[in-house]
Structure formats: structure tokens, C-alpha cells
Symmetry: C2
Subunit: 357 residues, 2 copies
DNA sequence: GTGAAAGCGCTAACAA
DNA sequence: TTGTTAGCGCTTTCAC
């Protein structure tokens, strides 16, 4: 760096000649010099809870303000081995079809003094790259709301980077997880549907490798069985609007003789696609001829065109929990794994009615 | 750091005693020692385009792989004065009502080798804080898709942090900007509407302090005037679905005697709210009794319940441009300001029809 | 309570 | 081509 004349510890001669090179950001040394104190004193002023006299603090802060000094988080991270960066992994689909999640997580991280390093992940190779990037940037932790293989997780584990899974986990490998298991609410909702006379249902699931989809599907199947409602057709979607629409067509094909009176979609976005397809294409009125329910509780589901009956996830509390779990594990890396399970909440809507006779 | 016995340049005795402390991440020194080369040789291997022999590279890479070494981006950033971090500022509303934007920007940043440090901004004070945070983290640049005052911008300017504004700019202050001016497309669409016999229109605007809203409103007003279409009512919304709905009510109140045959909403989300309100609450059929158009071209607008006629922004190309402009200015900070203006594209939909007679 | 000094992991002169 | 060396800006002992 010969072309940068700057030195961390300026010589006596520099002292008066160059109070502050124009355009260069002030360092703790600049502040120290201006305040006439040692550099470590400046450092202490910016570290909460260090022993320092009030006159010292005052002098330093005055100089700092004058130079617009703010500690360099990168340099701090280098020495403290804490970057205050958390990698947040989301898939494009998640963000498009459930934007609330990313938003809430970022807010909670921010409230905890952490910054979100955002990564969008579309496939396994992306995840691979993202893990390396996160490692290079010394992230303190990872919140993963996208797909991650067990092998990939093991890399993070070996590197001792705390990971919190958001709405997914490995059943056969210990991990820290926050998710929503709406078992009770599924029962509650299916009970309602049963009381409304529904006896023949169809299900539109998400991708088979997706945890959330699998869990919800199992809950739904269990509840339907318990209430004696038959599953006459089942289609697999990919959480998108379009797949909700095509899913309904598939259901129709599967049950050529008699359509079910109820379609349970494993997320709201598919439920919306399904509803539109029913009304616009198949000419089935919702809810009079076909009842539809979803999962998630996304904002759009409540638009007047849909008024979707659904089971909401407590995204705010889940995000808060995820961040808390990360910070806990950053503080104490030996902390054991933990699984925090939240309940859902049935959101009544206009998309269900008494089964047609 | 007395409890960390590690030294960057290990003494001879360390050499054999501690090949690699368990659980600690490998540094370039560890790799150098294992490969039996100097530390700077390791550094060179990881810097593309540096002169190094192939056998050296091979040896180093072998050792690096063995130790799972990846260069520390934080330390690198400290010395190169380049963090490879770009602050991305979005408002919660933008992300909820236009999630494509954040997604695209992040993807493009990633393709350019930059990481997105995500900040959600709700108000002026947030922006203030975010600017300080970004400064502390030594971000190479800022992409702002949320509100920022001119004073706040000047802080960034003084600190020589390149800023690219996404769909907003200061008219009276030089700045670097990417935005969409759909002047042509507004004309094109209004011409169509005129041909369909519309003579009385209403407009639902966004917040008056919002650039995008103001620009679009002006374009719309100009075009309507040009085609001799009267604006019989105008309501102000805040880009949300709800404000689209209430906006229509306000329009109805303003034009008690005779409703307009056309409502132009300044974004899609309000258009959707407006459409739902028209059909579900006011019992006005869209498009037969009321034509509605929007702006943005969000995915949801194309759902079968809406099939919104709208003017799309080329988000992908705009994001690409924004990232290019940032990287250019990181390379050469003296680069002059630039304004890249994109056109829109009319997306035909089912939300407009011949004006009722 | 304060300052001196070491060093976090890396890059980039410079010398060999 | 390779090694030596001097920092990047900060935190944290350790003396005083």
C-alpha cells in the first residue's frame, strides 16, 4: 500500500501536517489524536460497559462527532471473531409467495443488532455456493428457509456455524428448528368441514421432498381419516399459483365420475390458483359447489376475491424465536439443539360452505 | 486475546506441536505451513490473475482443500478497502407488494460477486440508522428502493459511498438512478381506452411524496388530457390493497351523480383492491361497468381473479442496470452520475372494456 | 482509569 | 516466480 501514505500510528511530523486526509474515513487513531488521548481509549468509548471516566468519554465523543467517526465493523469483526452478520437463505418462490417471512426475519435480526446477509437459493448447487460464501464472510449464524441437504448441513455443523431451520428440519439428525405444526388447527378446521357435510375431499400437496408439505399433508390425511372424510384425489403441486390451478384439473381427471366437495391445498398460493381455476375455468362456484382451504395465512389470501379460509402461521413469533435461537447459539456455541414448535390459527373465510347435496 | 494461544506467525516449536487446533478455522498460514510455502503464495493462489507456477498452485490448493481453507472475506475487505457488500434498502410495503424487485436485485448482485446486506426501512429514522449501519459495515455501495431524504443522501455522498436509486431520484440534486418512465405506454394505453369510448376517468394515486406516484400521475394526467378524457375524481392511496378499495369509495363519493367509466390506479396492488371493491362491495362489474388499469406488472395481477391490464416495468433489466451502475462506481468512484430510464410495456388484460353507454 | 503493544487474517509492495 | 514485510482498523491484555 505504498500509494496510501496513511499509517495507523502517525509519526510526530504527520501529527500536525495532516489532521485528516480529505475523503478518507476517520479511524479511531484520528479521533484519538484529535482528542489527545490514546487509541484504546477511543475503542473503549465505543464498547458498552467498559470502565471509562465521564470526562474522557465526553472528550472522545466530541472528537468522534467532529470527524463523523463510526467504528469499522469489519475490523471489529476481524478481532472479535464476530461479524454480526447472519446469512438468511430464502428461495425465490418463498419470497414471491410468502414475502412476509423474509421481512419479519430481517426486522427481528435488526432488532437484535445483527445484519441480514441475504442469499436467494434456487437449487442444491446454489445452496452449496451460498454456504461457501457465508463461510467466507464469517457469518455468525445461518437462518435457512430454503432447501438444504443433510450433507450441506453437516458442513455448517463441522464449521461450527449455528443454523436455525425455518419451517423445515431433519428428522434423523439433531438440529435447531423453529416451525409451525398446526395439528390442532387442522383438526379444528376438518371438524368444521365435517360438520358442514363434507365427505369427499381432495388434497393438493407441495413438492414431495418439502418438509412443510409432507407434515401438513400427514396432518390433513390424519384428520380427514379421523372424521371419516374420504380422499378421492390427490395432486402434487409446487406451491405456485399455477400448480394450484393445474392441481385442480388433475383432481378433476382423477375423479371423473364425481368431484369432491372440498379441496385442501397445502399452501395459500395454490389455494388461490385452485379457486380461480374452479370458478373461471371449471365454472364451479366457490364455496357453494366447492369448498377450498389453504395454509399459511398470507396477506393476499384475505383479498376480497379470495377470502380464503386458511390456517395461519405465527410468522412474527416464529421469526423472533429464530433470531433468539441464533443469538443464543452465537453466545454459547455449545448450546444444545432445540425445536420450537408453534401452533397455527384458523382464519375463517368465505371459501368454505355446506357441502352440496 | 490471551486465551487464544494462536499466533499468526507460529514459532518453530508450534510448528510441529499444533498442526491445526481443533475447531479453529484454517488461515492462509495454516495452508502455507502444510504446503511448505510462504503465506503470500497462498494469498496469490486465491487471487485470480496473479503470477504463480502451476506446481505451486497445485500444492497450495491441495493443502487448502485438506484444511477446507477459504479466504476470510472480512480480513480481505479490511486490507483491500472493499467489502463486496452492497446495502439494499427496501420498504416493507415494497417487498410485500412487489417482491420481485428485491429478488431480482439480489440475484444480480450475486452474479456480480457482491453480497446483499438487506435493510428494511419504514420511515425516515430507520433510514438514518440504516445509513450508519451501512457505513459501519463499509458497504461498497447502496441500492435504495425506499425513501431517502436529500439530506440523508448527502451524507452518503460526502462519505463517497456510491448510491443507486431504484425508481426514485432527486430532481434538483445530481444522482445515479435507474427508473422506468412509461410515458409512451401510458399514451398507448390511454389511446386504447379512448378508442373504447372512455370519456370520464378517475385516478387513484400513491403518496404525494412518492416519486413513482408523482411521475406516473403526471403521465396519466397528461395523456388523459391529450385524449380529451376528463378526470372526474382523484383519490390518494398508499400503494396498499386496502387503499385501492377505499380509494374507489372516495371516488364514488366525489362523483355522486355519475361514476367514471375508468379508474387508473398508480400501482397494481391498489388496482386489485379497487377491482375487488368495485365488484364485491359496489356491485359494479369489471370491466363491463368499470374499466380498471394499474402499473407495475406484478405476478399477482395476472391471476385469473384479476387479469389486470397494466404497464409492466422491466424489473430484470432495471436490476441488472442498477448493479452495473454500482459496480462501475465502485471501480471508479469519480464516475459521473447517470440516469438510466427504461420504458414499460403494456400488458393486455381483462380489466378494460368498452365504456358503458 | 489510561496507555502501550500485540495481533485478528489478509493483500500488496518490494526484494530476491 | 517466490518470500519478506508492513500495514488495514480494531479489541484486549497487561502495566502503570
Amino acid at each position: 500500500m505504498a500509494n496510501n501514505p496513511r499509517k495507523n500510528k502517525p509519526s510526530e511530523t504527520d501529527d500536525n501536517v495532516i489532521p485528516l486526509i480529505k475523503g478518507r474515513r476517520a479511524t479511531s487513531y484520528d479521533v484519538a489524536r484529535l482528542a489527545g488521548v490514546s487509541q484504546s481509549a477511543v475503542s473503549r468509548c465505543f464498547k458498552p460497559g467498559s470502565s471509562i471516566s465521564s470526562k474522557m468519554r465526553e472528550r472522545v465523543m466530541k472528537a468522534a462527532k467532529e470527524l463523523e467517526y463510526q467504528p469499522n465493523a469489519i475490523a471489529r469483526g476481524l478481532i472479535t471473531q464476530r461479524s454480526n452478520l447472519v446469512a438468511v437463505l430464502v428461495s425465490g418462490r418463498l419470497n414471491l409467495y410468502y414475502p412476509e417471512v423474509l421481512f419479519k426475519i430481517t426486522e427481528e435480526l435488526s432488532a437484535a443488532g445483527l445484519r441480514a446477509l441475504l442469499f436467494t437459493v434456487e437449487n442444491e448447487e446454489d445452496t452449496e455456493m451460498v454456504i461457501e460464501q457465508a463461510w467466507q464472510f464469517q457469518v455468525d449464524g445461518v437462518i435457512s428457509a430454503s432447501h438444504m441437504s443433510q450433507d450441506q448441513y453437516k458442513i455448517l455443523e463441522k464449521r461450527q456455524i449455528p443454523v436455525v431451520f425455518f419451517n423445515r428440519y431433519f428428522a434423523d439428525h439433531p438440529n435447531t428448528v423453529v416451525y409451525c405444526d398446526p395439528a390442532e388447527q387442522v383438526n379444528e378446521l376438518v371438524a368444521q368441514l365435517s360438520a358442514l357435510g363434507h365427505r369427499r375431499a381432495a388434497v393438493i400437496t407441495g413438492p414431495s421432498e418439502n418438509m412443510v408439505s409432507r407434515e401438513r399433508t400427514i396432518r390433513v390425511q390424519g384428520s380427514l381419516a379421523q372424521f371419516g372424510i374420504e380422499i378421492v384425489a390427490q395432486a402434487q403441486g409446487d406451491f405456485t399459483y399455477e400448480s394450484g390451478a393445474s392441481g385442480l384439473q388433475e383432481i378433476k381427471a382423477q375423479s371423473a365420475d364425481a368431484m369432491p366437495s372440498l379441496v385442501i391445498c397445502i399452501n395459500d398460493m395454490m389455494a388461490m390458483g385452485c379457486m380461480d381455476e374452479a370458478q373461471s375455468v371449471l365454472g364451479l362456484s366457490v364455496p357453494d359447489e366447492l369448498s377450498i382451504v389453504g395454509f399459511d395465512g398470507i396477506g393476499m389470501g384475505q383479498f376480497a376475491s379470495y377470502e380464503l379460509t386458511t390456517i395461519r402461521q405465527p410468522i412474527g413469533r416464529m421469526s423472533e424465536a429464530a433470531v433468539k435461537m441464533i443469538t443464543d447459539r452465537v453466545e454459547r456455541p455449545d448450546q444444545s439443539h432445540e425445536k420450537r414448535v408453534f401452533e397455527g390459527a384458523v382464519i375463517p373465510g368465505g371459501s368454505i360452505a355446506r357441502a352440496p347435496t
